[in-house]
Every structure is written in C-alpha cells, then in structure tokens.
C-alpha cells in the first residue's frame, strides 16, 4: 500500500488468466491445481459460466442448503468446492474473480481468513469507487446492504486462495433452489434471497467491471497474461481433488422420507 503508483518495480508477479463461459467445475479444478501445485501468484477471471450450477462449500450439506426435490427434478448439477463458505447458484450472469497468492506476496496480508478478506475489500474498493455505496460487509461485497459478491477461501501452509462470484445478473427463479441458510450473516436479517441480493448490472457493465478489476490488480502486482489449458486432465495433478460433483444418489439421500 505504500508502493508508489508510477512504478511497477518490486511488485510481485501475477499470472492473469481470462476465460469466458468456462464450466465452473473446470474452473474449480484448475484453481485447486494451481493452489496446490504452483508457486506463482494467479488471477483468474471467468466472465460467466456456461450453465446454471449449484456450488456448495466443502462442508455443505444438501439437506440443509438446497431444495433437493426441485434440484433433482430439474436436474441441476450440484458441486462441492474445495473452499469453505456458503452456497451459490451460478450461471452465465455470474462473473468469477479468483486470486491465488503466496503467503508473503501481499505486504500486510497475513495468511488468515479475516486478513485476506479485509485486504480484498480494500482492493475492490478501488474497483467500485464512484459506482455505488460499496463495502465489504461481514464476508460479502455489498452495495448498501444488498449482496452482489460472495467469497470463499482456502488457506494452506504456503499459499491462499480467495475467490469471488459476482452477481452481475441472475435469474430469480434459480434462487428458489437454495434454502435460507441456517448460517447466515447478521446483516441478512432473515431477508429472502430477492430482498438480500442485488444485480451488479444495475451499477456497471461487465467490461467496465473487468477492466477496473484488472487495473486494481496492477496496483498491487506486476500482471502478465498467460494461457492455460483448462481441460488438462485432473488426474495428472499429483493430488486428490476435493472439488466434486454430487451424484444423484447423494442428493437423494438428502431427501426427507415419509411413510
């Protein structure tokens, strides 16, 4: 934060990967692979995923978080990701921004959840300044008191990942697949989904958002675009992936049974 704006000397390197419409499962596999097997810093931007998908945190229980009956009926894929946090339903209107960093890369940021979260709030403050009443509230990005960005993290010994799904736009009916979670932020105040979230498109265009985000990154990192093969086999990674798609029977087990 004390680095002079004019010079990039001394800023840590960051590889930038840009996608559009990549399936969220492939994105998560790539992210976990980069977290666990790379020693570079990475920024991944996926401008919308290809199809509506439910993504739960690592310890999420379908019976508590989803309307399992509707999910099964409509055959909506459900993924459990390798990071913590809550449940989202993502689709082409969701923009993903992921940061994967070495623990010492960012000055003043300690490898603890709140430290990383706080720093990310400062970063996005640079992005949204002038576009709305933006702030980091508890663990969400909000305009006013309405959430438009959800966060999740994973911290290992030497690195951390902080990834965000931004609701640039969403389908109201998709929200119906998600239950009101038991573990909700205080500021939610038992509001339903439609009263709790807002659309980023009411504040800025997609391209403006992505451009400003990349510009904010350049204030903290020496960013260089790279190409990666998102289709690279997950089995060659050298570790067992934690991200997985839930099978039908796993969801069926979450259905309440009555006689």
């Amino acid at each position: 934060m004390t680095v002079p704006q004019a010079s990039k000397v001394g800023l840590p390197l960051m590889n930038l990967v840009r996608f559009k419409g990549v399936p969220i499962l492939k994105q998560l596999h790539l992210e976990e692979r980069l977290l666990r097997t790379s020693s570079d810093n990475w920024c991944i931007v996926n401008d919308g995923t290809n199809a509506p998908t439910i993504v739960m945190g690592l310890s999420g229980k379908p019976s508590e978080l989803l309307e399992v009956g509707s999910v099964l009926q409509d055959k909506v894929p459900v993924i459990k990701r390798f990071t913590g946090g809550g449940t989202v339903i993502v689709d082409p209107g969701t923009i993903f921004v992921t940061l994967i960093c070495n623990r010492d890369s960012v000055p003043g940021v300690q490898p603890y959840p709140r430290s990383i979260m706080h720093w990310s709030g400062l970063l996005y403050n640079e992005v949204f300044e002038g576009f709305g009443d933006f702030r980091l509230h508890e663990n969400d990005y909000v305009f006013g008191n309405r959430k438009f960005g959800g966060n999740a993290q994973s911290i290992t010994r030497k690195r951390w990942i902080h990834h965000t799904s931004f609701l640039w736009d969403f389908e109201a009916r998709n929200m119906a697949y998600l239950k009101l979670p038991q573990k909700a932020p205080e500021y939610r105040l038992a509001r339903s989904h439609m009263e709790f979230v807002c659309r980023m498109k009411d504040y800025m265009t997609r391209s403006v958002f992505i451009d400003k985000t990349l510009k904010a990154m350049e204030n903290h990192f020496s960013v260089r675009p790279v190409e990666v093969d998102v289709d690279a086999s997950v089995h060659d990674a050298g570790f067992v992936h934690s991200t997985k798609v839930l099978m039908k029977h796993e969801l069926e087990e979450a259905l309440p049974i009555s006689i």
Partner: protein, 496 residues
C-alpha cells in the same frame, strides 16, 4: 498428570492474553523475533490482523506472557491454534493422517473450516501421531486439543521473548527420562532443571525436587537422582528395572515363588488404572449392594451372531455377542430408567440419565479400565460393534481419552470372557447398577417328555445400589433384558 494440567491452565491463559493483547497498546516488538509458535497451526510468527498498524510493527503474542509447553512421557497435546482474530472455533473437515503415522515438521495434519475459509493445519513438530481426539464434523474450539503426538521428552520453557531465540526443536524419538538430548531452560516451577516425568516421580515419593542434587547436564535432576535421594531418605525403593512408562508399574506376585528361598517382600506403588480402581472401589464399598442372579438362554443370540458374521463383508468388523447384549440392555433401560441413574446422597436425589452410556469393563495389561459407549440408545448394533472395537484398541494401547472413560451411566462386565460362572460385581460409582455376565456354556435341559437337549446358557449377576433400586425393579428389568436376548426379533418392534 499434574504437568499436563499446568500446561492446560497456562495454555488457556495464553489465549486470554492473546485476545486482550489486541486491545491494549502494543508492547515494543522483541528483537529478532524468530520464534515459531509452539502450538499447531501456521508455523510462522503469530500476528494479530489489525491492518491499521504500520507494516513493520508486528506484535508478538508471546512477548508479555509466560507460556509453558510441558509434556509428560513424551506425548504432546496439540491444540487448534488461533486461525485468525476473533475466530473462536472451527469445524474439523478431514484428517490427512492417522494414529501411528510418522509426521514431519510442517506436514499437513488436517483441514478445518471457519466461516468462509478452509484452512490446512500443519504440524509444528516432527513426531508420531499418538491419538486423534476429534473426528470430521466436530466443532473444535481454538485452544482445544486436536490430537496428541509423541515427540520425545522435552521441557520447553518460553518465559520471555529473548528465550525464544534459543529454543531448539528435539528429535522425534521417544526418550525415557534419562535422555539428555533436549536443550533446557530454567523452568519457572521450583527453579530446578528436570523433566515432567522426573518431577512426577519425585512427587510420588513425597520428595521436594529442589532438595535433590542433580547429576545431569547443567545440574539437572534425573530419575536416578530422585531414586537415590528417596532411598537414602529411607523411602520405599522402586524396582529400578522398569523401563516402561514411569506412571504405571506392575509387580507380578508369582515372582517370589519362582525364586524359592530367595523371596523378599516387594512393595509396589499403585499408579494409573490401579490407583483409579482403589479410589472407585473405596467409594463402592460405601454402597449397600444387593445382587440378583439370572440365567439367560442364548440360543437365539448365538444364531444371530453367526448370521451377522455370515453376511459380513467388512474385514475390519468382527461380530461378537456383546453389541447385541449392549443394545438390548439399552432397550430394557428405556423401560427401567432407574437402573441408568446416579444417586446424590447429600441431596437425596436420583438423576435419571438421559443417555445410555454403557461402560464395558476391560482387562488390560495396565489394569482394569471401563470405557463407555456413548448414547447407545441412538446407535445401531453395527455402530456399537465398531465403537466397541475402537475402545478396545485404545484400551489395549493405553490411549483412552478422558472422555472415553467418563460419563458412563451403567457398566457391563464380561468377566465370562476370561472364565468363571459369574462374578459378584461392585457398582462403578457414581452409577447404581453393574452387570457381570458369565461365559455362554452348553447346558443340559429337560423338555416336557423328560428328554435332555442342549441349551446355550449365560449366567448374569446384577449388582445394584439398594438405596436406589429394590429387588423387584431389578428383577423386572432383568426379565425385560432377558426377553430381548432370548427373542432378539422383539428389538425390531422398538427400532427407530
């Protein structure tokens, strides 16, 4: 034991300190703050996360408090370290290691989750996993023990920040109390250099360790110094041949017979499980017992066990009679809750316990121990089988946790596994009933025509506290239990 308690109380104080140090003005940062946290977690400096503090002013949570990390017998309680300011607890997601694994420093041990983050917990020590304390799904408070590791015997005293620079890690071998490989600092307790095991030994002899001349490195007091001092003072001498865990020693009573005319009296100091038995049986002696004896036809039970074993595809599961006996016991207790209670003499009240935590007496080389299976009313027979096996393994390895052996509500003693027709058991205080079961034996019985046919019979003896239970209640309870054992299909009527 005492040393561990001290560590825990200091450990708790440390956490209080770290919370309060955030709000007080920061102390001057220590010079060359290269210390590593003695606790599990991120094996670098521990910082508070207030970013309003300029970057170069990092606070060290240790700088103003004495933290003593003591270990007894080489086993370390490894807690969940602070994972971030204000985070009080995490959910344990999964283990990367299991009991018995050799662990390197910085090796990932497990993954926990707090709020939005999954966090990999790495090991501060090189050693061996001795006991996993929590299972995935458990909520673990910061500071609570996650697992126990064997890291060799060391005394790490971290009183002030200057001492941190001199701390060295120790080898992973489990040393006995004669090891001199660790670097010691003068402990704040008593001002004498020695290890916790030696202090324990001195205490058991009633010796003030500061009176003992230390012959070890840097004048430290070693085991032999204490024994020599005790012997010189005329305190009863311990067998010096014992090389196992110094907290438990057992003397075989037949040794003197083997030596014939060279018999000498040998006095054994009771420790560990034996000491616990002295205490609990002294209390049991105050209870007015009565005993109720019954015989149970186990033909159906034998058939059921065979059926379970035939359908069993899991090589790790071995079906025995006990789990069915335990489950049917729980069913009977639901109808006769007074047998699952505890008595308060002072207040003249009986507390009917909500959970059926059924204790199973186990004979180990370290003595009699009674771990209990918690909430049997909610467990299936298979779950009971697995839990029983888990407790048996731990008991044999002397690795039962305090939780495993506390909060029992009734005890089952399968003395028949060793021999005898049945026993006359003493109640395991503060419970009010205990059941000793004898061996299942083939017995001849007569049918209506006077023909002899074989029946598998098991004798049981229920020991009961006559202040709480009367003969009629115990008899009725026993009839109910007997019915479930003789007709196990009736268990299905009550299945939830």
């Amino acid at each position: 034991m005492i040393c561990r308690r001290i560590w825990r109380s200091y450990g708790r104080r440390w956490w209080l300190c770290s919370a309060s140090s955030h709000t007080s003005p920061p102390p001057p940062p220590p010079r060359a703050c290269q210390q590593k946290s003695p606790l599990l977690g991120f094996s670098s400096q521990v910082f508070t996360t207030d970013l309003n503090i300029p970057y170069d002013m990092r606070r060290c949570c240790f700088s103003t408090q004495a933290v003593i990390d003591l270990q007894v017998g080489g086993i370390v309680d490894v807690p969940l370290a602070q994972t971030g300011e204000g985070i009080a607890e995490c959910e344990l997601l999964k283990w990367y290691v299991q009991e018995g694994d050799e662990i390197e420093e910085f090796q990932p041990l497990c993954e926990v989750q707090s709020d939005k983050a999954t966090i990999e917990i790495t090991s501060r020590y090189k050693g061996r996993v001795s006991q996993i304390v929590h299972v995935p799904g458990d909520i673990v408070r910061v500071g609570e023990t996650l697992l126990k590791m064997a890291v060799g015997e060391l005394l790490v005293a971290a009183q002030t920040s200057e001492n941190f620079e001199n701390m060295k890690s120790v080898s992973s071998e489990i040393c006995n109390s004669n090891s001199e490989s660790s670097v010691l600092k003068k402990a704040s307790i008593g001002g004498v250099l020695s290890t916790p095991a030696v202090r324990n030994l001195a205490k058991q002899y009633g010796v003030d360790i500061s009176d003992v001349n230390g012959s070890g490195k840097d004048g430290r007091v070693i085991r032999e110094d204490v024994l020599k001092y005790a012997s010189n003072k005329g305190i009863a001498q311990e067998a010096l041949t014992s090389s196992s865990d110094s907290s438990e020693e057992k003397e075989c009573p037949h040794v003197s017979a083997e030596h014939g005319w060279d018999c000498e009296d040998k006095t054994v100091v009771l420790r560990g499980f034996q000491r616990v038995m002295v205490k609990s049986m002294t209390l049991a002696a105050k209870i007015p017992h009565f005993h109720y004896v019954e015989e149970i036809n186990c033909d159906a039970l034998v058939e059921l066990k065979a059926s379970f074993q035939n359908e069993n595809s899991d090589p790790n599961v071995k079906h025995t009679f006990l789990p069915v006996l335990i489950k049917s016991l729980s069913m009977a207790l639901s109808k006769y809750p007074f047998l699952n209670s505890c008595f308060n003499e002072e207040l003249q009240t009986v507390t009917l316990k909500g959970s059926h935590n059924i204790g199973i007496a186990m004979a180990t080389q370290h003595g009699l121990v009674v771990p209990n299976i918690k909430k049997v009313q909610s467990l299936s027979i298979l779950e009971i089988t697995k839990e029983l096996s888990r407790l048996q393994q731990l008991a044999l390895a002397n690795k039962l946790s305090p939780d495993d052996v506390s909060s029992g509500t009734i005890t089952l003693s399968n003395i028949g596994a060793i021999g005898g027709k049945f026993g006359s058991p003493l109640v395991n205080t503060p419970e009010v009933a205990i059941i000793a079961i004898g061996r299942i034996q083939k017995s001849p019985q007569f049918d209506d025509d006077g023909n002899v046919y074989p029946v598998s019979v098991m004798s049981v003896n229920v020991g009961a506290d006559h202040r709480v239970l009367d003969g009629a209640t115990v008899a009725r309870f026993c009839n109910e239990w007997k019915l479930f054992i003789e007709k196990p299909e009736l268990l299905m009527l009550h299945m939830r």
